[in-house]
């Protein structure tokens, strides 16, 4: 492995904030601030760049095995490291579903094969995500599953959800729920409201999210088992969680970059790349979620990276699949939304995409300290780039940012001591 010296970067020294420091990555893959070699290293001036512990995504649809036409291991791991992520939590809605130990084993081993980042699989709560029979959560955990969820196929039967949570808790598994009432959501395509009416499309009411959040709060309280609500989209949903936390309920939640950056009005041009589930809500909802980030009340961020094939998003709005491709652009988009526009300092929120989810999953946190194995990203806040199908490494080009310029981009990513981005010879 080559040696690297990075000069003049702003290195995150949490919780103190950024400090200008030189550092090197040595042959052994470890970081040093004190013993920077005199020669034999590639020197890079990163003035104007932030150096942060590499990012962690709690919610990635890797689509493989089974839907490689949307995304595959090669592309998803490239998109991840190009976006600063070295750890991804894969969602179980693969084909076949990650509902047994063999699929979990396959995902981990296949992820390792590319050597760019780590994939931490989530298993499903129920067999085939069918909401009928408990999956083999214990055996999946033994093979390396870090959590369980029926993401996208929220269990509707409350009694089964309770059993699933109790069973998962037996093995100390992290339980995540995509809060959605199927009956209320049925046939909807975007937020129920003015925009949906204007476009002549059936809406998805906010209550389809809040009623399940409320249910999960009650289950969590009654059983005293922690639960995590992913991609909270509404003000009301977030308020319910805040209140439950005050009562001591062990509930946590995440928000996605798109729910922080866009509102329902984005759908006005029938752009299917804004068709997301849960849907983009109102500006009031968005502002409220941003306020929570500002106040440090969000447990973590998550991409809900949902790549789709181009032809699928070319269907009419009501026929196109839900989801947005996110890994490549998540950090840049949030930098624009939160730091440039909303003036929330980078160091105040960037950890929500790094050590915050690691902490939720009780994993080792990454730090930029002497002798630590290099797991970091360099984010050049001045680098302007244009989002095009070519600049995206994900196979899924379904992002509403296509054609747009963003300011700020990851320029280097190191994973377990090795440079994994930019690609090419290390």
């Amino acid at each position: 492995m080559k040696r690297y010296i990075f000069r003049n970067g702003m290195v995150l020294d949490a919780p103190k904030g950024f400090a200008k420091k030189d550092f090197a990555v040595l042959d052994n893959g470890k970081i040093t601030f004190k013993n920077i070699p005199d020669r034999g290293a590639i020197e890079i001036d990163i003035s104007g760049s932030y150096v942060i512990p590499s990012l962690f995504d709690l919610h990635t649809h890797i689509r493989c095995p089974g839907q490689e036409y949307k995304e595959d291991f090669e592309h998803v791991t490239r998109a991840a490291v190009a976006g600063g992520f070295t750890e991804l939590c894969s969602m179980p809605n693969t084909k076949p579903v990650a509902d047994n130990e063999a699929i979990i084993d396959y995902i981990i081993l296949e992820g390792e094969r590319y050597g760019r980042c780590r994939i931490h699989p989530f298993g499903s709560l129920t067999v085939g995500l069918q909401g009928e029979k408990l999956a083999r959560m214990g055996l999946m955990k033994n093979k390396g599953a870090v959590g369980v969820t029926d993401d996208g196929m929220c269990i509707q039967d409350t009694s089964l959800m309770m059993k699933a949570m109790e069973y998962a808790h037996t093995f100390g598994l992290f339980i995540m729920d995509h809060a959605e009432d199927n009956y209320l959501k049925k046939g909807g395509f975007l937020n129920e409201g003015l925009v949906a009416d204007k476009l002549g499309l059936k809406g998805i009411p906010e209550i389809s999210e809040t009623i399940i959040i409320k249910r999960d709060i009650e289950i969590s309280r009654y059983l005293n088992i922690p639960v995590h609500i992913t991609h909270v989209s509404s003000k009301r949903g977030a308020e319910l969680i805040m209140n439950a936390k005050k009562e001591g309920v062990k509930i946590t939640f995440d928000i996605t970059p798109h729910h922080l950056s866009f509102n329902e009005e984005a759908c006005l041009g029938f752009n299917t790349n804004f068709k997301i589930n849960p849907p983009l809500r109102t500006e009031k909802d968005r502002k409220f979620l941003i306020g929570l980030v500002r106040e440090g009340k969000v447990d973590c961020l998550a991409t809900d990276h949902a790549p789709h094939a181009k032809f699928e998003k070319e269907y009419p709005f009501d026929g196109a699949p839900f989801g947005v491709s996110n890994l490549d652009t998540a950090l840049s988009l949030l930098y624009e939304t939160l730091t440039i526009k909303e003036k929330i300092p980078f160091e105040k929120w960037v950890g929500l995409f790094g050590n915050a989810p690691r902490k939720l999953l009780k994993m080792q946190e990454k730090a930029l300290k002497e002798n630590a194995v290099a797991n970091f990203a360099v984010f050049d806040k001045n680098l302007e780039w244009k989002v095009t199908e070519k600049t995206l490494y994900s196979k899924g080009k379904n992002t509403p940012l296509l054609g747009r310029k963003l300011k700020g981009k990851v320029s280097f990513t190191f994973y377990e001591g090795a440079r994994v981005y930019p690609f090419g010879e290390k």
Binding site: L134, K163, E166, Y167, T170
Partner: protein, 302 residues
């Protein structure tokens, strides 16, 4: 001694001990060439099995025969209960035939109390739903007591389907009454809701739960449990909650492995464990006979 034995709570500690002591004497009789004694001559025992049972019924029947009692059998399938006769009417009819002791098994919790209210004799509960199974608890206690001389201070670990088990409920009551420490090990979906007030420890890992155990008891995984969706399947259950061959190496030589039977080999217990030198599963059956004789004796003496 009270007139009925419906739950373990019907017995004081000294009555319990007296049943055990007397059981020892009856067990000795069972080793003789001639195993019959005249203790219950002239007494009539009614076996009222409203729910199918092979082993428990056989054990009671043989216990009664060894003590020279007369036996009448009443099983739900061959009875007029099919014609919607109430339990009360059935029992009153039987009582008119002057039966001394009723051994009752029923799928509904509380039925032995209904029987007791309408008869003049004694009732022995042979298992009522998920409520209670005191004679199983007594034979389990006997098996441990015979080996260790006391239950006081012993660590007893129960592994398996606990939620709807009448055996566990009665066992826990009896073990705690006699001063043992009880640990239970099962998936959380199979734990009773009120587990925190039972006075037992809970551990989700078999390996940890049996670490300091003097007694390890496996429980039958009931087919209905899987159908009710409380566990994924037998493979995962066996992996995490089965008493597997691997445990044998870590046990100290005095450990007793027990199981109320019938066993599901390869599900809650591996054959290697059930047939190991630690296993007293067949001994439990013999002890069931001896202690049921002792229970009859105590009810008649009362």
């Amino acid at each position: 001694m009270r007139k009925h034995l419906i739950t373990v709570d019907d017995l004081s500690k000294s009555e319990f001990m007296s049943i055990l002591e007397q059981g020892k004497a009856f067990k000795e009789i069972l080793t003789r060439p001639i195993k019959k004694i005249p203790t219950l001559r002239g007494k009539t025992i009614g076996l009222l099995f409203f729910e199918p049972s092979t082993r428990t019924k056989l054990s009671f029947e043989l216990a009664a025969k060894r003590m020279s009692a007369d036996i009448v059998n009443f099983t739900a399938s061959s009875s007029s209960l099919k014609k919607d006769e109430s339990i009360k009417d059935t029992v009153m009819t039987l009582d008119a035939m002057k039966i001394d002791i009723y051994v009752v098994r029923h799928s509904s919790p509380g039925v032995p109390y209904i029987v007791a209210d309408h008869i003049r004799g004694s009732v022995i509960n042979a298992g009522d739903g998920a409520h209670s199974h005191p004679t199983q608890a007594i034979l389990d206690v006997y098996t441990i007591w015979e080996r260790f001389g006391t239950l006081k201070g012993l660590n007893i670990t129960i592994v398996g389907d606990i939620k709807y088990s009448r055996v566990v409920r009665s066992d826990i009551d009896a073990f705690l009454k006699l001063g043992a420490h009880v640990t239970i090990c099962t998936p959380r979906t199979l734990l009773p809701f009120s587990v925190s007030s039972l006075g037992v420890k809970v551990n989700f890992s078999v390996k940890e739960a049996i670490k300091n155990a003097d007694v390890i008891m496996g429980l039958r995984m009931q087919k209905e449990r899987q159908d009710s969706g409380l566990i994924p399947d037998e493979v995962e259950y066996n992996h995490f909650f089965g008493l597997k061959e691997e445990i044998l190496g870590s046990l100290n030589p005095k450990v007793l492995v027990m199981h109320p039977g019938p066993i599901n080999r390869g599900i809650e217990i591996d054959g290697e464990v059930a047939d190991s030198e630690f296993s007293v599963i067949n001994e439990q059956v013999t002890n069931g006979l001896a202690t049921r004789m002792s229970i009859f004796y105590h009810l008649v003496e009362a």
